[in-house]
Symmetry: C2
Subunit: 221 residues, 2 copies
DNA sequence: GTCTATAGTCAGATAGAC
DNA sequence: GTCTATCTGACTATAGAC
Protein backbone atom coordinates (compact mmCIF):
# COMPACT_ATOMS: atom_id res chain seq x y z
CA UNK A 1 0.00 0.00 0.00
CA UNK A 2 2.19 2.83 1.21
CA UNK A 3 5.47 3.46 -0.50
CA UNK A 4 7.46 2.19 2.38
CA UNK A 5 6.62 1.44 5.96
CA UNK A 6 9.60 3.27 7.32
CA UNK A 7 8.87 6.34 5.22
CA UNK A 8 5.20 6.28 6.22
CA UNK A 9 6.19 6.24 9.87
CA UNK A 10 8.56 9.16 9.43
CA UNK A 11 5.92 11.16 7.64
CA UNK A 12 3.18 10.43 10.17
CA UNK A 13 5.35 10.99 13.20
CA UNK A 14 6.60 14.28 11.83
CA UNK A 15 3.04 15.46 11.44
CA UNK A 16 1.81 14.31 14.82
CA UNK A 17 4.88 15.34 16.80
CA UNK A 18 4.71 18.83 15.36
CA UNK A 19 1.02 19.14 16.17
CA UNK A 20 0.99 17.62 19.63
CA UNK A 21 4.50 17.44 20.96
CA UNK A 22 6.70 14.44 21.54
CA UNK A 23 5.42 13.17 24.84
CA UNK A 24 1.82 13.74 23.85
CA UNK A 25 2.07 11.67 20.70
CA UNK A 26 1.76 7.93 21.18
CA UNK A 27 3.17 5.22 18.98
CA UNK A 28 -0.39 4.06 18.59
CA UNK A 29 -1.50 7.29 17.00
CA UNK A 30 1.57 7.34 14.79
CA UNK A 31 1.10 3.86 13.46
CA UNK A 32 -2.62 4.45 13.00
CA UNK A 33 -1.93 7.62 11.02
CA UNK A 34 0.71 5.83 8.98
CA UNK A 35 -1.52 2.85 8.35
CA UNK A 36 1.03 0.42 9.66
CA UNK A 37 1.16 -1.99 12.53
CA UNK A 38 1.87 -0.87 16.05
CA UNK A 39 4.99 -2.99 16.28
CA UNK A 40 6.51 -1.49 13.15
CA UNK A 41 8.05 1.48 14.93
CA UNK A 42 9.98 -0.69 17.29
CA UNK A 43 11.00 -3.00 14.51
CA UNK A 44 12.31 -0.25 12.23
CA UNK A 45 13.63 2.23 14.74
CA UNK A 46 14.09 0.34 17.98
CA UNK A 47 12.22 2.71 20.26
CA UNK A 48 10.24 5.90 20.33
CA UNK A 49 13.30 7.89 21.35
CA UNK A 50 15.31 6.45 18.49
CA UNK A 51 12.50 7.40 16.12
CA UNK A 52 12.72 10.99 17.31
CA UNK A 53 16.47 11.02 16.86
CA UNK A 54 16.17 9.63 13.36
CA UNK A 55 13.53 12.17 12.49
CA UNK A 56 15.60 15.10 13.68
CA UNK A 57 18.76 13.99 11.95
CA UNK A 58 16.83 13.26 8.77
CA UNK A 59 15.76 16.88 8.54
CA UNK A 60 18.30 18.89 10.44
CA UNK A 61 21.36 17.63 8.68
CA UNK A 62 20.31 18.87 5.23
CA UNK A 63 19.10 22.15 6.72
CA UNK A 64 22.38 22.82 8.47
CA UNK A 65 24.27 21.82 5.37
CA UNK A 66 22.25 24.43 3.51
CA UNK A 67 23.16 27.04 6.11
CA UNK A 68 26.86 26.33 5.84
CA UNK A 69 26.76 26.33 2.05
CA UNK A 70 25.13 29.73 2.07
CA UNK A 71 27.73 30.98 4.48
CA UNK A 72 30.51 29.69 2.25
CA UNK A 73 28.92 31.35 -0.75
CA UNK A 74 28.81 34.62 1.13
CA UNK A 75 32.42 34.25 2.12
CA UNK A 76 33.35 33.71 -1.52
CA UNK A 77 31.32 36.71 -2.65
CA UNK A 78 32.89 38.96 -0.02
CA UNK A 79 36.56 38.07 0.03
CA UNK A 80 37.29 41.15 2.10
CA UNK A 81 35.51 39.44 4.97
CA UNK A 82 32.80 42.05 5.30
CA UNK A 83 29.57 40.17 4.77
CA UNK A 84 26.52 42.44 5.11
CA UNK A 85 24.56 41.71 8.25
CA UNK A 86 21.23 41.07 6.57
CA UNK A 87 22.79 38.52 4.24
CA UNK A 88 24.28 36.70 7.19
CA UNK A 89 20.96 36.59 8.95
CA UNK A 90 19.29 35.39 5.80
CA UNK A 91 21.80 32.58 5.45
CA UNK A 92 20.98 31.42 8.94
CA UNK A 93 17.25 31.92 8.89
CA UNK A 94 16.14 31.09 5.37
CA UNK A 95 17.08 27.39 5.34
CA UNK A 96 14.79 26.86 8.30
CA UNK A 97 11.81 28.78 7.02
CA UNK A 98 12.34 27.66 3.45
CA UNK A 99 11.32 24.18 4.42
CA UNK A 100 7.79 25.43 4.77
CA UNK A 101 7.69 26.16 1.07
CA UNK A 102 9.12 22.82 0.10
CA UNK A 103 5.89 20.89 0.37
CA UNK A 104 7.54 17.89 -1.16
CA UNK A 105 9.76 17.56 1.87
CA UNK A 106 7.04 17.73 4.46
CA UNK A 107 6.58 21.45 4.23
CA UNK A 108 5.24 23.47 7.09
CA UNK A 109 4.83 20.33 9.13
CA UNK A 110 8.49 20.01 9.77
CA UNK A 111 8.99 23.66 10.48
CA UNK A 112 6.67 23.37 13.42
CA UNK A 113 8.42 20.25 14.56
CA UNK A 114 11.69 22.09 14.40
CA UNK A 115 10.40 24.98 16.44
CA UNK A 116 9.18 22.48 18.95
CA UNK A 117 12.57 20.88 19.38
CA UNK A 118 14.07 24.21 20.34
CA UNK A 119 11.88 24.28 23.36
CA UNK A 120 11.56 20.66 24.36
CA UNK A 121 13.11 20.11 27.79
CA UNK A 122 13.92 16.44 27.28
CA UNK A 123 17.61 15.89 27.89
CA UNK A 124 17.87 13.34 25.12
CA UNK A 125 16.47 15.68 22.52
CA UNK A 126 18.66 18.47 23.78
CA UNK A 127 21.72 16.31 23.36
CA UNK A 128 20.79 15.31 19.85
CA UNK A 129 20.23 18.95 19.01
CA UNK A 130 23.46 20.22 20.45
CA UNK A 131 25.41 17.76 18.37
CA UNK A 132 23.63 18.86 15.22
CA UNK A 133 23.90 22.56 15.92
CA UNK A 134 27.30 23.05 17.35
CA UNK A 135 29.22 23.12 14.05
CA UNK A 136 26.79 25.66 12.62
CA UNK A 137 27.07 28.07 15.51
CA UNK A 138 30.81 27.69 15.52
CA UNK A 139 30.99 28.88 11.94
CA UNK A 140 28.44 31.65 12.02
CA UNK A 141 29.60 33.35 15.16
CA UNK A 142 32.88 34.75 13.82
CA UNK A 143 31.09 35.93 10.70
CA UNK A 144 28.66 37.90 12.81
CA UNK A 145 31.50 39.24 14.90
CA UNK A 146 33.14 40.50 11.71
CA UNK A 147 29.92 42.11 10.55
CA UNK A 148 29.50 43.85 13.92
CA UNK A 149 33.06 44.72 14.91
CA UNK A 150 32.03 47.27 17.49
CA UNK A 151 29.82 44.91 19.45
CA UNK A 152 31.39 43.48 22.61
CA UNK A 153 31.46 39.71 22.77
CA UNK A 154 28.88 39.53 25.53
CA UNK A 155 26.46 41.65 23.59
CA UNK A 156 26.92 39.62 20.45
CA UNK A 157 26.15 36.47 22.38
CA UNK A 158 22.84 37.80 23.60
CA UNK A 159 21.80 39.28 20.32
CA UNK A 160 22.48 36.04 18.49
CA UNK A 161 20.41 34.50 21.17
CA UNK A 162 17.56 36.81 20.43
CA UNK A 163 17.68 35.94 16.75
CA UNK A 164 17.59 32.24 17.48
CA UNK A 165 14.69 32.83 19.85
CA UNK A 166 12.81 34.76 17.23
CA UNK A 167 13.30 31.98 14.74
CA UNK A 168 12.36 29.28 17.20
CA UNK A 169 9.22 31.07 18.22
CA UNK A 170 8.11 31.69 14.68
CA UNK A 171 8.66 28.11 13.72
CA UNK A 172 6.96 26.61 16.74
CA UNK A 173 4.36 28.93 15.44
CA UNK A 174 0.84 30.03 15.19
CA UNK A 175 -0.26 28.79 18.59
CA UNK A 176 0.61 32.04 20.20
CA UNK A 177 -0.37 33.85 17.06
CA UNK A 178 -3.96 32.92 17.65
CA UNK A 179 -3.76 34.56 21.06
CA UNK A 180 -3.21 37.96 19.55
CA UNK A 181 -5.49 37.29 16.67
CA UNK A 182 -8.19 39.73 17.60
CA UNK A 183 -6.90 41.38 14.45
CA UNK A 184 -8.40 39.81 11.39
CA UNK A 185 -5.39 40.39 9.26
CA UNK A 186 -4.77 39.11 5.81
CA UNK A 187 -3.50 35.61 6.42
CA UNK A 188 -0.12 36.78 5.20
CA UNK A 189 1.65 33.83 6.63
CA UNK A 190 3.35 33.17 3.34
CA UNK A 191 6.87 32.46 4.38
CA UNK A 192 8.29 34.65 1.64
CA UNK A 193 7.19 37.85 3.33
CA UNK A 194 7.73 36.40 6.76
CA UNK A 195 11.39 35.83 6.08
CA UNK A 196 11.80 39.41 4.89
CA UNK A 197 10.05 40.76 7.97
CA UNK A 198 12.12 38.61 10.26
CA UNK A 199 15.36 39.67 8.60
CA UNK A 200 14.43 43.33 8.78
CA UNK A 201 13.50 43.09 12.45
CA UNK A 202 16.52 41.00 13.39
CA UNK A 203 18.98 43.15 11.46
CA UNK A 204 17.72 46.27 13.17
CA UNK A 205 17.89 44.54 16.52
CA UNK A 206 21.44 43.35 15.99
CA UNK A 207 22.41 46.91 15.08
CA UNK A 208 20.72 48.47 18.11
CA UNK A 209 22.80 51.22 19.72
CA UNK A 210 24.67 50.10 22.77
CA UNK A 211 24.02 52.11 25.91
CA UNK A 212 20.85 53.25 24.28
CA UNK A 213 17.90 52.29 26.40
CA UNK A 214 17.01 55.71 27.80
CA UNK A 215 16.31 54.04 31.15
CA UNK A 216 13.42 56.42 31.88
CA UNK A 217 14.32 56.54 35.59
CA UNK A 218 11.17 54.96 37.06
CA UNK A 219 8.06 54.06 35.19
CA UNK A 220 6.51 57.25 36.53
CA UNK A 221 3.80 56.42 39.06
CA UNK B 1 3.61 20.32 58.82
CA UNK B 2 3.68 22.58 55.79
CA UNK B 3 1.96 25.92 55.91
CA UNK B 4 -0.92 24.77 53.87
CA UNK B 5 -1.50 21.77 51.70
CA UNK B 6 -2.96 23.76 48.88
CA UNK B 7 -0.09 26.22 48.92
CA UNK B 8 2.47 23.42 49.04
CA UNK B 9 0.90 21.86 45.97
CA UNK B 10 0.97 25.12 44.08
CA UNK B 11 4.59 25.68 44.94
CA UNK B 12 5.70 22.17 44.05
CA UNK B 13 3.73 22.00 40.83
CA UNK B 14 5.08 25.34 39.71
CA UNK B 15 8.59 24.08 40.17
CA UNK B 16 8.09 20.75 38.49
CA UNK B 17 5.95 21.99 35.63
CA UNK B 18 8.51 24.62 34.77
CA UNK B 19 11.33 22.11 34.84
CA UNK B 20 9.70 19.23 33.03
CA UNK B 21 6.61 20.48 31.25
CA UNK B 22 2.99 19.81 32.02
CA UNK B 23 2.48 16.43 30.47
CA UNK B 24 5.78 15.13 31.76
CA UNK B 25 5.01 15.99 35.37
CA UNK B 26 2.87 13.47 37.22
CA UNK B 27 0.61 14.16 40.13
CA UNK B 28 2.65 11.61 41.99
CA UNK B 29 5.84 13.61 41.63
CA UNK B 30 4.04 16.80 42.59
CA UNK B 31 2.55 15.40 45.76
CA UNK B 32 5.85 13.76 46.66
CA UNK B 33 7.69 17.06 46.22
CA UNK B 34 5.03 18.87 48.21
CA UNK B 35 5.05 16.28 50.95
CA UNK B 36 1.33 15.73 50.74
CA UNK B 37 -0.87 12.84 49.87
CA UNK B 38 -1.49 11.80 46.30
CA UNK B 39 -5.22 12.36 46.65
CA UNK B 40 -4.76 15.93 47.81
CA UNK B 41 -4.52 17.41 44.33
CA UNK B 42 -7.83 16.00 43.29
CA UNK B 43 -9.39 16.96 46.56
CA UNK B 44 -8.25 20.58 46.45
CA UNK B 45 -8.27 21.28 42.73
CA UNK B 46 -10.48 18.62 41.19
CA UNK B 47 -8.11 17.49 38.45
CA UNK B 48 -4.67 18.01 37.03
CA UNK B 49 -6.00 20.34 34.37
CA UNK B 50 -7.79 22.43 36.96
CA UNK B 51 -4.56 22.65 38.91
CA UNK B 52 -2.79 24.04 35.86
CA UNK B 53 -5.56 26.59 35.33
CA UNK B 54 -5.40 27.68 38.94
CA UNK B 55 -1.65 28.00 38.76
CA UNK B 56 -1.71 30.15 35.66
CA UNK B 57 -4.41 32.44 36.93
CA UNK B 58 -2.68 32.73 40.28
CA UNK B 59 0.40 34.22 38.62
CA UNK B 60 -0.76 35.74 35.37
CA UNK B 61 -3.47 37.92 36.79
CA UNK B 62 -1.14 39.97 38.99
CA UNK B 63 1.42 40.17 36.19
CA UNK B 64 -1.07 41.47 33.70
CA UNK B 65 -2.43 43.88 36.26
CA UNK B 66 1.09 45.19 36.64
CA UNK B 67 1.37 45.61 32.88
CA UNK B 68 -1.83 47.59 32.66
CA UNK B 69 -0.90 49.75 35.62
CA UNK B 70 2.38 50.64 34.00
CA UNK B 71 0.58 51.46 30.80
CA UNK B 72 -1.82 53.73 32.65
CA UNK B 73 1.08 55.47 34.37
CA UNK B 74 2.69 56.07 31.00
CA UNK B 75 -0.54 57.45 29.63
CA UNK B 76 -0.75 59.83 32.53
CA UNK B 77 2.85 60.93 32.12
CA UNK B 78 2.39 61.55 28.40
CA UNK B 79 -0.99 63.24 28.04
CA UNK B 80 -0.18 64.10 24.43
CA UNK B 81 -0.48 60.41 23.66
CA UNK B 82 3.09 60.02 22.47
CA UNK B 83 4.59 57.39 24.73
CA UNK B 84 8.20 56.62 23.83
CA UNK B 85 8.56 53.21 22.27
CA UNK B 86 11.11 51.86 24.70
CA UNK B 87 8.94 52.78 27.66
CA UNK B 88 6.02 50.93 26.11
CA UNK B 89 8.11 47.85 25.56
CA UNK B 90 9.39 48.07 29.09
CA UNK B 91 5.87 48.23 30.46
CA UNK B 92 5.01 45.06 28.61
CA UNK B 93 8.19 43.13 29.19
CA UNK B 94 9.35 44.08 32.67
CA UNK B 95 6.43 42.64 34.66
CA UNK B 96 7.20 39.24 33.18
CA UNK B 97 10.93 39.25 33.74
CA UNK B 98 10.64 41.04 37.05
CA UNK B 99 9.12 37.97 38.55
CA UNK B 100 12.49 36.32 38.35
CA UNK B 101 13.85 38.82 40.83
CA UNK B 102 10.97 38.42 43.19
CA UNK B 103 12.20 35.28 44.86
CA UNK B 104 9.50 35.54 47.44
CA UNK B 105 6.91 34.93 44.79
CA UNK B 106 8.48 31.85 43.31
CA UNK B 107 11.11 33.73 41.39
CA UNK B 108 12.73 32.34 38.30
CA UNK B 109 10.72 29.18 38.68
CA UNK B 110 7.57 30.82 37.50
CA UNK B 111 9.24 32.69 34.71
CA UNK B 112 10.20 29.43 33.12
CA UNK B 113 6.71 28.11 33.66
CA UNK B 114 5.35 31.17 31.97
CA UNK B 115 7.61 30.78 28.99
CA UNK B 116 6.48 27.21 28.76
CA UNK B 117 2.82 28.12 28.60
CA UNK B 118 3.45 30.32 25.58
CA UNK B 119 4.51 27.27 23.68
CA UNK B 120 2.40 24.47 25.06
CA UNK B 121 0.10 23.17 22.35
CA UNK B 122 -2.63 21.91 24.69
CA UNK B 123 -5.91 23.47 23.67
CA UNK B 124 -7.03 23.85 27.26
CA UNK B 125 -3.96 25.79 28.24
CA UNK B 126 -4.25 27.91 25.13
CA UNK B 127 -7.81 28.80 26.01
CA UNK B 128 -6.91 29.74 29.55
CA UNK B 129 -4.12 31.91 28.20
CA UNK B 130 -6.19 33.68 25.63
CA UNK B 131 -8.68 34.72 28.25
CA UNK B 132 -5.93 36.10 30.45
CA UNK B 133 -4.08 37.88 27.68
CA UNK B 134 -6.75 39.35 25.52
CA UNK B 135 -7.42 42.45 27.62
CA UNK B 136 -3.72 43.23 27.80
CA UNK B 137 -3.14 43.01 24.07
CA UNK B 138 -6.25 45.03 23.44
CA UNK B 139 -4.85 47.90 25.50
CA UNK B 140 -1.26 47.82 24.39
CA UNK B 141 -1.85 47.59 20.68
CA UNK B 142 -3.26 51.10 20.15
CA UNK B 143 -0.47 52.51 22.29
CA UNK B 144 2.09 50.89 20.03
CA UNK B 145 0.23 52.11 16.99
CA UNK B 146 0.46 55.65 18.34
CA UNK B 147 4.16 55.28 19.03
CA UNK B 148 4.76 54.00 15.50
CA UNK B 149 2.31 56.01 13.41
CA UNK B 150 4.04 55.27 10.12
CA UNK B 151 3.89 51.51 10.50
CA UNK B 152 1.10 49.81 8.53
CA UNK B 153 -1.24 47.70 10.61
CA UNK B 154 0.00 44.44 9.17
CA UNK B 155 3.58 45.30 9.97
CA UNK B 156 2.72 46.32 13.50
CA UNK B 157 1.01 43.00 14.03
CA UNK B 158 4.07 41.03 13.06
CA UNK B 159 6.50 43.16 14.98
CA UNK B 160 4.46 42.88 18.14
CA UNK B 161 4.51 39.21 17.46
CA UNK B 162 8.26 39.21 17.31
CA UNK B 163 8.49 40.98 20.65
CA UNK B 164 6.17 38.47 22.27
CA UNK B 165 8.21 35.69 20.75
CA UNK B 166 11.40 37.14 22.07
CA UNK B 167 9.95 37.38 25.51
CA UNK B 168 8.49 33.89 25.41
CA UNK B 169 11.74 32.40 24.28
CA UNK B 170 13.77 34.14 26.92
CA UNK B 171 11.41 33.07 29.62
CA UNK B 172 11.13 29.47 28.54
CA UNK B 173 14.82 29.95 28.85
CA UNK B 174 18.22 28.58 29.16
CA UNK B 175 17.55 25.27 27.50
CA UNK B 176 18.47 26.61 24.14
CA UNK B 177 21.01 28.84 25.76
CA UNK B 178 23.07 25.85 26.63
CA UNK B 179 23.11 24.85 23.00
CA UNK B 180 25.06 27.91 22.02
CA UNK B 181 27.11 27.86 25.13
CA UNK B 182 30.43 27.07 23.57
CA UNK B 183 31.08 30.61 24.74
CA UNK B 184 32.05 30.67 28.38
CA UNK B 185 30.56 34.05 29.06
CA UNK B 186 30.12 35.72 32.34
CA UNK B 187 26.93 34.19 33.66
CA UNK B 188 25.29 37.55 33.18
CA UNK B 189 21.84 36.18 33.37
CA UNK B 190 20.90 38.76 35.92
CA UNK B 191 17.52 39.87 34.74
CA UNK B 192 18.37 43.53 35.26
CA UNK B 193 20.75 43.63 32.33
CA UNK B 194 18.68 41.15 30.39
CA UNK B 195 15.69 43.44 30.41
CA UNK B 196 17.78 46.32 29.14
CA UNK B 197 19.22 44.21 26.36
CA UNK B 198 15.83 42.93 25.38
CA UNK B 199 14.34 46.40 25.31
CA UNK B 200 17.20 47.74 23.21
CA UNK B 201 16.94 44.90 20.73
CA UNK B 202 13.16 45.01 20.53
CA UNK B 203 12.99 48.79 20.22
CA UNK B 204 15.43 48.74 17.34
CA UNK B 205 13.51 45.91 15.71
CA UNK B 206 10.18 47.70 16.03
CA UNK B 207 11.78 50.75 14.40
CA UNK B 208 13.31 48.80 11.53
CA UNK B 209 12.99 50.60 8.18
CA UNK B 210 10.17 49.31 6.06
CA UNK B 211 11.13 48.14 2.60
CA UNK B 212 14.63 47.83 3.89
CA UNK B 213 15.84 44.30 3.44
CA UNK B 214 18.23 44.82 0.52
CA UNK B 215 17.02 41.51 -0.93
CA UNK B 216 20.50 40.68 -2.24
CA UNK B 217 19.04 39.07 -5.41
CA UNK B 218 20.13 35.46 -4.81
CA UNK B 219 22.44 34.20 -2.13
CA UNK B 220 25.24 34.25 -4.65
CA UNK B 221 26.27 30.70 -5.60
C1' DG C 1 8.83 -7.74 7.35
C1' DT C 2 4.48 -7.84 9.32
C1' DC C 3 1.15 -9.15 12.39
C1' DT C 4 -1.45 -10.61 17.14
C1' DA C 5 -1.33 -10.88 21.76
C1' DT C 6 0.29 -9.61 25.88
C1' DA C 7 3.62 -8.35 29.51
C1' DG C 8 4.90 -4.69 32.36
C1' DT C 9 4.64 0.04 33.66
C1' DC C 10 2.70 4.23 35.04
C1' DA C 11 -0.79 7.56 34.69
C1' DG C 12 -5.18 10.19 36.79
C1' DA C 13 -8.91 9.55 39.53
C1' DT C 14 -11.94 7.86 43.42
C1' DA C 15 -14.15 5.13 47.39
C1' DG C 16 -14.14 4.83 51.93
C1' DA C 17 -11.75 4.52 56.58
C1' DC C 18 -9.98 7.74 59.81
C1' DG D 1 -8.92 17.34 55.36
C1' DT D 2 -6.08 13.51 55.00
C1' DC D 3 -4.93 8.98 54.21
C1' DT D 4 -4.68 3.92 52.04
C1' DA D 5 -5.97 1.09 48.64
C1' DT D 6 -7.52 0.35 44.36
C1' DC D 7 -9.81 1.03 39.83
C1' DT D 8 -9.41 1.98 35.04
C1' DG D 9 -7.13 3.14 31.23
C1' DA D 10 -3.16 4.19 28.23
C1' DC D 11 1.28 3.67 27.14
C1' DT D 12 5.95 1.31 25.36
C1' DA D 13 7.96 -2.71 24.26
C1' DT D 14 8.50 -7.57 23.07
C1' DA D 15 7.74 -12.59 22.13
C1' DG D 16 6.40 -15.49 18.74
C1' DA D 17 3.23 -17.08 14.80
C1' DC D 18 2.97 -16.19 9.99
Amino acid sequence: MSLDTKEAILRASEKLFSQQGFKETSLRSITAEAGVNLAAVNYHFGSKDALIDALLAHRLRPMNRDRLQRLEALRAAHPDGAIPLDKLIRAFVAPALDLSRNTQQGGAVFVRLLGRTYIEPSAKIQDALRELYDPVIQRFRPAFAAALPELPEGELYWRLHFVVGLLAYLMSGSDMMRLIASSRLNEARDSEQLIERLIAFASAGMLAPLGAAPTSEEHTE
